[in-house]
């Protein structure tokens, strides 16, 4: 299976301090890949580098075989990479509909089918089409953030802690949606604090610790791993 995304030796520093210290990852076409790690490990920084809003110190990021390092964020979006940012970041002063339309900012074609698709995934958004996004509940905002990202017709959707701060039922919904999206052919790169659920749905998983990849394997392998159990799943060794 070919890799849609290949990261080699990604190094990012913020004002001299290295937040990401040379990580390499591969995201196979059509799969769900998850990246788990503690707070401050460098997960968001990795995704931001892929999106082009953070400039890496050095790296090679191949998407569909094309080098993305040094490209502008709008170019990267136009190639089919989208990011659902940490903390949802919907535009509070835009309506739900406008938030979805702005997700398709670079597209010139008709949006009708895609709007219908997003509303099918998230019927709640359809009811609230004209509501200001700032007045949505946290869960609804997360749905909107995912819907907005889908509106760019991505090949790869990256999600930064989509379940953060949501009630368990809503979290389940979000994970179900992630799987649905993936089944429809979109590759997913997922960051999660909720390692348990993320590993269950992931085909492939990476563990990142203070800027370095320390472990990789299939979701199942990591789910069974004793160290992972202890550090990320909150289960002690027997």
């Amino acid at each position: 299976m070919s890799n849609i995304l290949e990261i080699k030796n990604l190094v990012v520093s913020y004002g001299g301090i290295e937040a990401v210290k040379g990580i390499s990852m591969e995201v196979p076409q059509g799969q769900i890949v998850t990246l788990i790690g503690a707070n401050g490990a460098g997960k968001s920084t990795t995704l931001k580098s892929i999106s082009g809003i953070v400039r890496p110190k050095e790296a090679s990021i191949l998407f569909d075989g094309e080098e993305m390092v040094g490209k502008s964020p709008d170019y990267i979006v136009s190639k089919g990479i989208t990011l659902v940012p940490e903390g949802r970041r919907v535009f509070p002063n835009l309506t739900v509909m406008e938030n979805l339309k702005i997700g398709a900012y670079l597209r010139k074609d008709n949006l009708k089918d895609d709007l219908e698709y997003v509303f099918r995934l998230f019927p709640r958004l359809k009811e609230r089409e004209w509501q200001m996004a700032g007045t949505l509940s946290g869960g609804e905002q997360q749905m909107l953030a995912v819907g907005r990202a889908l509106m760019s017709k991505p090949k790869l959707i990256m999600m930064d802690e989509p379940s953060l701060g949501l009630a368990p039922l809503v979290v389940k919904d979000i994970f179900r949606i992630i799987q649905t999206i993936n089944e429809e052919g979109i590759t997913v790169l997922l960051i999660e604090q909720n390692a348990n659920m993320a590993l269950k749905i992931a085909h492939k998983a990476y563990v990142i610790e203070t800027g370095k990849i320390t472990m990789e394997g299939t979701g199942l392998e990591l789910l069974e791993n004793e160290e992972i159990k202890e550090a990320y799943l909150g289960k002690s060794k027997k």
Partner: protein
């Protein structure tokens, strides 16, 4: 004061108010998108007046050609200032870019003094605009009459642009969140440039309308009107376009009536008084957002 004089003052008030509104829009839009008080805006307005002198006096071009050239030159100046003095400070602390704006303001004033001398220069006459007209007993000039109309037209067009076009949607998004806007594929530098284009275009139109009935221009001519329009923007709630427009009209009307009552020296004091009272009792202005802080 009889009705005719009263109406005459009203018209004069909304006319100067319309000019203030146009300039205040420039302050409020730039603030909305960059959280920057563009202290140079009043001086851009002043430079537009010198451009008009250039076009009409030095090059003897007809007024309508000059008008177009002034608009273009002012817009270019504004966009150039943004690229040179503000863009490199995009991720610097807010105070740095503010200081840069103050620097640009002094730079323009001194540049004008150097190039055109500190002596007032005669502003060209546009006979058509100065023609007297009589509206049911109120005698006034064409410029006084068309200024509020032009203001309303521009404001309506601008609100349409902002609320009902893709560019406008991007402007609203960028004003909230640079990073996420970039993730949508929006080129934020382009949106910021467009904001300066609009603000400077309105400043150019405002400049022509403001100076036409006045005899001359001098390098400091932009600073007091600039300050008043900034106050108008703060009064309306900086960041809000309807607020700036309302603030502009209000300050124009108050000023005119205070002058009419014989307290000319007091009219500017009053404007600053408005600012202080507003900041004391409703710091966010009439239509301001509660917290304008960026996430």
């Amino acid at each position: 004061m009889n009705t005719t004089t009263f109406l005459q003052y009203c018209l004069a008030g909304i006319s100067i108010g319309g000019i203030y509104a146009m300039i205040a829009i420039g302050y409020t839009m730039v603030y909305g998108i960059l959280r920057l008080i563009n202290f140079a805006h009043g001086d851009i307005f002043m430079m537009a007046a010198y451009f008009m002198i250039f076009a009409m006096v030095d090059f003897a071009l007809p007024w309508y050609v000059s008008l177009a050239l002034v608009a273009i030159a002012t817009v270019l100046l504004g966009v150039f200032i943004e690229k040179i003095a503000y863009k490199p400070l995009r991720s610097a602390p807010r105070m740095s870019i503010m200081i840069s704006a103050i620097g640009v303001s002094y730079l323009l004033q001194n540049l004008a003094t150097y190039l055109f001398s500190a002596l007032p220069k005669g502003y060209p006459q546009i006979p058509f605009l100065m023609t007297n007209i009589n509206l049911g007993g109120i005698s006034t000039s064409v410029v006084t009459f068309i200024t509020p109309i032009l203001t309303i037209i521009f404001v309506v067009l601008l609100m349409q642009l902002i609320n009902h076009t893709k560019i406008g949607m991007a402007m609203r998004a960028v004003s909230k969140d640079f990073e996420t806007s970039q993730l949508m594929g929006i080129k934020i530098n382009r949106i910021i440039s467009i904001t300066f284009v609009i603000g400077c275009f309105l400043a150019a139109v405002g400049s022509v309308l403001y100076f036409t009935p006045r005899p001359s221009v001098y390098p400091m001519a932009g600073s007091l009107p600039g300050l008043k329009c900034f106050i108008a923007a703060v009064f309306g709630g900086i960041g809000s376009i309807p607020g700036a427009v309302l603030g502009g009209f209000l300050i124009g009307l108050c000023e005119t009536f205070i002058k009419a009552a014989g307290y000319s020296e007091f009219s500017d004091v009053f404007t600053f008084l408005i600012l202080i009272v507003m900041l004391l009792f409703k710091p966010t202005g009439l239509f301001g957002e509660k917290i304008a802080e960026k996430v």
